[in-house]
């Protein structure tokens, strides 16, 4: 079951790569693969058991897989040190502003929808 699900995932990634090279060079293969699989699931209307098994197993270990590529930051320590204040300011500032904006907006939209439902 796990292998069958894994096969699907790899096939979709390879399809994504083909699509990326042939038609949409702006999007990377795995991302096109994800979108293709998403549309496939929409059409099919359900997630089969093999795919559920493979995706939950892989996603559980996603944090582990991120360690090697993220460790490449050691190659860019100089750049980070040079821009550390700009980086800190941009990350913290944009996070706080955007958190407040999204929370406030969503709450307003929910209230508006509730009012409309109440009226009609």
């Amino acid at each position: 079951m796990l292998l069958r699900g894994l096969t699907w995932l790899v096939v979709f990634q390879l399809l994504g790569t083909l699509l990326s090279v042939l038609l949409v060079p702006q999007l990377p293969g795995p991302i096109l693969g994800m979108l293709l699989l998403f549309f496939f699931l929409l059409l099919r209307g359900q997630v089969g058991e093999p795919l559920t098994q493979a995706s939950t197993s892989l996603l559980r270990y996603l944090p582990l897989m991120l360690v090697p590529p993220a460790t490449a930051v050691i190659l860019h320590l100089e750049l980070i040190a040079r821009d550390i204040w700009a980086i800190a300011g941009a990350l913290v500032g944009s996070l706080l502003l955007s958190l407040a904006l999204t929370g406030w907006l969503m709450q307003r939209l929910i209230e508006r929808q509730a009012r409309r439902r109440g009226e009609s």
Partner: protein, 238 residues
């Protein structure tokens, strides 16, 4: 009889699985430490990166050698990114009643997080490489890395930005939202999911199930929309 210690040591650290072993060890140690302390700051991935860097430094091993001997894990990242379609589909199917508020907030939030990040960085004088790595910071890490590479930024830098953002959002997000009077569980969940990815979602789950569901949905949708639109927008602009 004299044993060839030098040769044995070389065979060990140049083994094609050495980096894999180092990563596994560092990750499990971090996981155990996180589970013991439950401090949000000790995110297993961030801690693992520090441990691996320390390990490489102690062993005097170059990054290139580590990269090659941990390639097994990196190769699996592709199919795992494809697998993100499954939670996206399941989350989307679960939430129907607030579809328009969700979509509108998603678009505004994802654009705001990206534009504010790049804009503030630019105002504060960050270099172009940093700015390009900042744009995708509200997508989950694997997506942010792919997109960043595509738009000419540094993938590893984007990964660290995403993780730091997630930790900060997970720590301060719920407090900040309470402070400005955002109390609806769906609104809190959306804000945490759009801005603080997985760490935010685990905080949202601790608040309530509804909050967690919206956060998971927001995280999936933000990732997918940044994956789809950011490279296209960047291709148009540059």
């Amino acid at each position: 009889m004299s044993l060839d210690w030098q040769g044995a040591w070389q065979a060990l650290i140049t083994h094609p699985l050495f980096g894999f072993a180092l990563t596994l060890g560092a990750y499990q140690l971090s996981l155990a430490l996180y589970e013991k302390t439950r401090w949000v700051v000790l995110q297993p991935v961030l801690l693992s990166i520090l441990l691996v860097i320390a390990g490489l430094w102690v062993l005097g091993m170059g990054f290139e050698q580590y990269r090659q001997s941990s390639e097994l894990l990196t190769l699996l990242l592709g199919p795992t990114t494809v697998a993100l379609a499954v939670p996206l589909y399941l989350n989307l199917r679960r939430i129907r009643q607030l579809l328009w508020p969700v979509l509108l907030t998603l678009v505004c939030g994802a654009v705001a997080a990206s534009v504010l990040g790049v804009g503030l960085g630019w105002l504060l004088g960050a270099e172009e490489g940093v700015l390009r790595s900042m744009a995708a910071k509200s997508a989950t890490t694997p997506i942010a890395m792919l997109v960043t590479e595509q738009i000419g930024g540094i993938a590893a830098l984007a990964a660290v930005f995403v993780m730091v953002t997630g930790v900060l959002g997970g720590i301060f997000g719920p407090e900040l939202l309470r402070l400005i009077g955002v109390t609806h569980p769906a609104a809190v969940g959306m804000a945490l999911g759009i801005n603080a990815h997985a760490v935010g979602t685990s905080r949202a789950l601790a608040e309530s199930e509804e909050c967690g569901a919206f956060s998971a949905l927001a995280m999936s949708l933000t990732g997918a929309s940044i994956a789809l639109f950011l490279p296209l927008v960047a291709a148009l602009l540059v």
